[in-house]
């Protein structure tokens, strides 16, 4: 069959892509999470590296934060100690000046404070100095104008600190507090304010505040932190790289092994994994190769055995068939002349003839079965109308049916379309089912139903004869199995017919099933996929058949069809009026 393939359409291939770039990128971005999930699922390498980076980051972050905090604390405390020492020194200096004087008038107090301030400025490292009169004193003390460096004027010294210093009046205690100091360039720096009460023996209570800028320490800390960040990042990258290298080292051989086993599974039996070194990977490769070797050996051996068996079957076929042909020719010559022999010899010629025919059938059935067993049975698929095929088979079996007294009817509401089947094999099944129905039909009607649905086409052969028990029906497809060994055989099957039919049906991807009941007859249903290679789905015909209760239901089903004329242009699935048998003789 030569079929002309329609040229493939290619009109959609050219299309300007410029206007699609925007949405395309957006879609790309939106597809990223799914892409990453895909990598996560598919790539062990990706997964390992992501996990490694994640865990390393957590560990380094923890270590970094701890280091940073402890360095920060350490820096602060050492600076604080330094600051307190310095402030203590300054306070003591001032107090010493005050203690040494005894003036009590306003002017001398002012002078005293000014000289103290000068002294403090020279002895302390701080340039931020403020001296206030302690609150809650008499007028002489408050007459002193508070002195403060510009940076300390705007509420930098908190009320809390002031209250503490006020409460500690008369002692030498130092009070401190962390603050934010404005710096010269408009920003702020971290700082410490140290407060100390001062008392002038005759001039009342005063408070000294010294501000210290911690910008240097903060800069040191941020430098350390920056270093830690960079080191951490580099370390993470390095560990990711190490993980990648290690995973590659391990995965690469596994990948090779996976590819090789896939090839092996596809039938490339000679592929092997390269063996390098003595490590665990090499051991894996060696044992894998060992397995492949033994598998290849066994498969080759099996293939050889199977080939040998097929060759043997083929040889037996030839060797047996040639002498059988001679016997057949000789037997037939004698059979044709049997009238001229004396009765005993004539009968001998007859027996020789029938048994040669039987032997021939048996031989061909055996060869057919052995072909199935060797797996060398192949389908010769062509589009065929099942109805037409069944009509042909019925015509062929008509003489036998007439001899048995059975009337064969066909009822085909569907199945006129052509389906992809091996006509020879399906014809063999139908003929075989008809032969069985005639043999066991007790001369009653035989109904052949054909119907189709979306996925399948089915033919059922129903007889109303003796039927079988359920146990017998279950074994009916076994080789050389006979329902009732004592029954006389009229058609003389080989005992392999139904076994071959079942194999033929299976080869098509179809099903052959039986329903039978003693006294009610049997129904064999063959269901085939409508398109070869597709699943069958549900059968369009019921099993058990719908008419199991009636004795002769053929009239009721409206099965008035004997033979239908074949019109190749018909593709309908409805029953058509059929003409009697006159059609087929003409050309």
């Amino acid at each position: 069959m030569a079929t002309s393939a329609a040229p493939a359409r290619t009109s959609r291939s050219s299309r300007s892509g410029r206007s699609h770039i925007g949405p395309f990128l957006a879609r790309e971005w939106r597809a990223w999470p799914r892409q990453i999930v895909g990598w996560w699922r598919l790539s062990l390498q990706f997964r390992t590296i992501v996990i490694t980076i994640g865990l390393t980051t957590v560990a380094l972050l923890g270590a970094g934060i701890y280091t940073s905090v402890s360095i920060g604390n350490d820096l602060f405390h050492s600076r604080l100690n330094q600051v307190l020492l310095d402030a203590n020194q300054a306070a003591k200096t001032a107090q010493t000046i005050f203690d040494a004087s005894d003036s009590s008038n306003d002017g001398s107090v002012s002078t005293l404070l000014n000289s103290a301030q000068t002294k403090i400025t020279s002895s302390s490292s701080s340039r931020l100095i403020a001296i206030y009169a302690a609150p809650g004193q008499d007028q002489t003390a408050t007459s002193f104008l508070p002195f403060a460096s510009p940076a300390l004027t705007t509420g930098v010294v908190s009320d809390d600190l002031k209250a503490e210093v006020t409460a500690g009046a008369g002692t030498q205690t130092l009070y401190w507090q962390s603050v934010v100091l404005p710096n010269g360039s408009g920003g702020t720096d971290p700082g410490i304010i140290v407060g100390s009460p001062l008392s002038i023996p005759s001039g009342g209570q005063y408070q000294l505040y010294l501000g210290y800028n911690l910008a240097d320490s903060a800069q040191t800390l941020s430098f350390v932190q920056q270093t830690l960040w960079i080191a951490g990042l580099l370390l993470t990258l390095l560990i990711a790289l190490v993980a990648w290298v290690i995973v590659r080292l391990v995965i690469e051989p596994i990948k090779v092994a996976a590819e090789v086993s896939e090839k092996l599974a596809d039938g490339e039996l000679e592929v092997r994994i390269p063996e390098k070194g003595d490590d665990i990977i090499a051991t894996l490769a060696r044992s894998f190769n060992g397995m492949a070797d033994s598998m290849q050996g066994q498969i080759t051996q099996l293939a050889e055995l199977s080939q040998l068996q097929q060759r043997f079957v083929s040889d037996v076929s030839h060797e047996l068939r040639t002498p059988l042909t001679t016997i057949r020719l000789a037997g037939d010559l004698l059979y044709d002349k049997r009238e001229s022999f004396e009765p005993a010899i004539g009968r001998t010629a007859e027996l020789l003839h029938t048994q040669t025919v039987r032997f021939e059938l048996l031989l061909s059935d055996l060869l057919e079965i052995s072909r199935f067993d060797a797996g060398s049975a192949d389908l010769n698929i062509e589009p065929t109308s099942l109805v037409r095929l069944a009509v042909d088979a019925i015509d062929q079996m008509r003489p036998l049916a007439e001899a048995a007294g059975s009337e064969m009817r066909i009822f085909a509401p569907g199945g006129h379309v052509e389906v992809e089947i091996d006509a020879r094999r399906i014809r063999r099944i139908v003929t075989n089912l008809l032969g069985n129905a005639i043999e066991h039909g007790e001369g009653r009607a035989i109904l052949v139903s054909i119907d189709s649905n979306v996925s399948a086409i089915a033919i059922a052969v129903r007889d109303y004869g003796i039927g079988m028990s359920t146990e017998d029906a279950e074994r009916v497809f076994e080789r050389f199995w006979r329902a009732d060994p004592s029954r006389k055989r009229t058609i003389g099957g080989t005992g392999l017919g139904l076994a071959i039919s079942l194999e033929d049906a299976t080869l098509h991807g179809g099903q052959l099933e039986v329903w039978s009941e003693p006294g009610a007859g049997s129904c064999f249903r063959l269901t085939l996929p409508r398109v070869h290679g597709r699943p069958v789905g549900t059968s369009p015909l019921p099993l058990p058949p719908e008419d199991t209760d009636e004795s002769d239901p053929v009239e009721d089903t409206g099965a008035h069809l004997l033979t239908r004329s074949y019109d190749p242009t018909h593709t309908f699935d409805e029953p058509v009026e059929l003409q009697p048998d006159a059609e087929r003789a003409g050309g």
Binding site: A2, P323, L329, L333, P383, A423, G587
Partner: protein, 235 residues
């Protein structure tokens, strides 16, 4: 009748038995038991038909078939113990007209031989003048096929096949109809016979066998004759 039939078979008993059957039907059998001598036997005896076993000592039956086909269009019927697809198709592709699967019976054998020996039945309705199919002319009485002035050599079977199609140009022939008309099978037969021989025929008559104009395929049904084209230069 006395048609001469060359029986090429290595099994002496079978060859003798076939001889007996053929003689009983008034044919004249000639025997050859070796594949390598089959062609020599063919050229010396010039038989009307060859019965050829596929499995032969000396030379494969398919090679013998090729050799004879290269020389002559004489009907060849293969005797084969195998009905397996590849062997049968190989035999048909090398030019055998028909095949019989062993074991066969005498009636079958004789019927097959008679079909191949009798002159084309399709011609029975005597046609006046040549038949036209595509740009090809069939002279039925003279058993000649011409395209323009060029003569195309066809075997009798290929001629019958083309004749069957050309004689009813309106009709679509199913493979079964062709099997009945050309090969004489009255019921189920191997449709590969038709497929293979249509291909062989196309290889000879079509100008482009991949794009046939003479023997057209009707998908899912069979074949029909291509539309008649008036030859550019009428001979």
């Amino acid at each position: 009748m006395d048609a001469r039939i060359l029986v090429v078979d290595d099994d002496p008993a079978l060859a003798e038995m076939i001889g007996i059957v053929l003689k009983a039907e008034n044919f004249e059998p000639i025997f050859c038991a070796d594949g390598s001598q089959a062609f020599a036997a063919f050229t010396s005896s010039r038989p009307d038909l060859v019965l050829l076993d596929l499995m032969l000592p000396g030379m494969d039956g398919i090679e013998v078939c090729d050799q004879i086909r290269a020389e002559s269009g004489v009907p060849i019927i293969m005797l084969t113990a195998k009905s397996d697809t590849t062997d049968v198709v190989k035999g048909l592709e090398s030019g055998a007209d028909d095949y019989i699967v062993k074991p066969f019976n005498p009636k079958e054998l004789v019927a097959r031989i008679r079909t191949r020996l009798r002159p084309s039945t399709v011609v029975a309705a005597a046609v006046t003048g040549p038949l036209l199919i595509g740009d090809i002319e069939l002279d039925v009485a003279g058993h000649e096929v011409r395209r323009g002035d060029g003569r195309i050599n066809l075997t009798p079977l290929e001629f019958d096949l083309l004749n069957a199609l050309a004689s009813k140009p309106q009709q679509v022939f199913t493979r079964e109809m062709l099997l009945e008309q050309v090969w004489g099978y009255h019921y189920k037969a191997d449709t590969r016979l038709v497929n293979v021989h249509v291909q062989r025929l196309r290889a000879k008559v079509e100008e482009d066998p991949d794009n046939p104009r003479i023997v057209m395929t009707v998908r899912g049904v069979g074949y029909r004759a291509g539309a008649v084209v008036q030859p550019a230069t009428s001979g």
